[in-house]
Assembly symmetry: C2
Homo-oligomer: 120 residues x 2
DNA sequence: CTCATGGATTGACATCCGTCGATATTCCTG
DNA sequence: CAGGAATATCGACGGATGTCAATCCATGAG
């Protein structure tokens, strides 16, 4: 499946707070990062993000999103779950409705945790 | 397949250079963006990026990358092609070797073309 | 020219993923 | 409580994707 990698890890210090001691991403970190990017790797999910962000109130419920996407309700619900699981969206249930909103800074965090490696 | 979306496009101006007139990502833009993120949606490709970026010379050939990843040469070659097609890596062939390097700013561009929509 | 080496391509296979229909769950209303 | 509405979950199906073995292509050495 994902193939075990034995990365060279010089380990300048034991401090887990500073990831820069290592030469490259370790397999666990890579897998975790990939989860975030996987969530962005679908056109409909990207559209969902922008639709919610474009909402004046900052949030949207499923019924607002099915029509502009042209997808069924279960499919939209599934995509939203993927985005929530990735930490990019937040869900708040009020009454019968579920309101989704973009988690502030989540995209930036995801991005930086990659560029920290590619930009010394 | 990808389902046709009819996005509401108020079109403040006809200028295609300013994407902000539109309310949300159009299907073509979403698909194009998704290609970039799809390239990042695999742990081994993320590791490849960081391995190349960590190289002192800024570039690496395939033979340098197969061992730390624990993958076969065709598989690594395939992943590198995905990253090149997404515009994240550049390939330069010198003699028998192909040298891959990170395209400067490509990650930033990809990121911004999404946050432009999610951060007004 | 011949051979060896690094890399790309092809074909096959197993798995993952997006989508839908059907159903379950939760909550509001009367 | 009964009914309806919004959403989540489940099962299934087809297409996409990661991986490998085998092969092909190009280049440099002799």
């Amino acid at each position: 499946m994902t193939a075990q990698i034995d990365c060279k890890v010089p380990q300048g210090s034991q401090n887990p707070q500073s990831p820069k001691d290592r030469v490259a991403l370790d397999p666990e970190g890579a897998a975790e990062l990939a989860v975030g990017f996987k969530a962005l790797a679908d056109p409909n999910r990207l559209t969902l993000l922008t639709l919610i962000a474009a909402e004046a109130t900052g949030e949207a419920c499923v019924c607002d999103l099915t029509e502009p996407l042209g997808l069924g309700q279960p499919t939209v619900s599934h995509h939203l779950k993927v985005l929530v699981d990735a930490g990019l969206l937040a869900r708040e249930k009020r009454g019968t409705w579920s309101y989704y909103s973009v988690v502030p800074g989540a995209l930036q965090d995801l991005f930086h945790s990659l560029t920290d490696w590619t930009t010394p």
